[in-house]
Amino acid sequence: MLFFSYFKELVGKEVTVELKNDLAITGVLHSVDQYLNIKLENTKVVNEAKYPHMLSVKNCFIRGSVVRYIQLPVDGVDVDILHDATRREARGG
């Protein structure tokens, strides 16, 4: 639940989602669910020249399981809150 809660706090901020097939998409985080499926709005593919068929995609749903990384906005990370939440989660099992 830790990362689900964390990503809910990031809604409205810009993130870059890098998929396991190397496609990277930047967009505004619209929503997230417990599986870390995510919806992005105002999307832009990072390497547009390589993926011209993605030019018309402006919004998307990404299944959580295909995500490799999510690059986070620097102002969206409070290190102390993350530490505390992680320790609480580790205790809870």
């Binding site: 830790l2 990362f3 964390y6 396991k20 870390l36 959580g64 399981s65 995500v67 490799r68 990384y69 999510i70 690059q71 986070l72 906005p73 620097v74 969206g76 990370v77 290190v79 993350l82 530490h83 939440a85 992680t86 320790r87 989660e89 580790a90 205790r91 099992g93």
Partner: protein
């Protein structure tokens, strides 16, 4: 129980990760990727948030003419990165002085 949980003993594998919170760790991922960064958060799936991350991707290319294998390592840095746990192979904390 709660007080005893913060101790330095390793009773289960995830304790090794718990003791690495706020420390720089090495992560080996599927797809010949490696990360070095400061561990800010993790869960039981090994989903993680790392800070000041250096990613190294190892690529092997075959020279068109000589058919020699050319190993290339691409590096980049990322300020804050969420890493999905299912790609993780190995995590190594810094050497502990205990």
């Amino acid at each position: 129980m709660a007080a005893a949980e913060e101790d330095n003993t390793v009773k289960e594998p995830l304790d090794l990760i718990r003791l690495s919170l706020d420390e720089r760790i090495y992560v080996k991922l599927r797809g010949d990727r490696e990360l070095r960064g400061k561990l800010h958060a993790y869960d039981q799936h090994l989903n993680m948030v790392l800070g000041d991350v250096e990613e190294s991707v190892t690529l092997v290319e075959i020279d068109d003419e000589t058919y020699e294998e050319i190993v290339r390592v691409d590096k980049r840095t990322i300020p804050f990165l969420f890493v999905r746990g299912d790609g993780v192979i190995l995590v190594s904390p810094p050497l502990r002085t205990s």
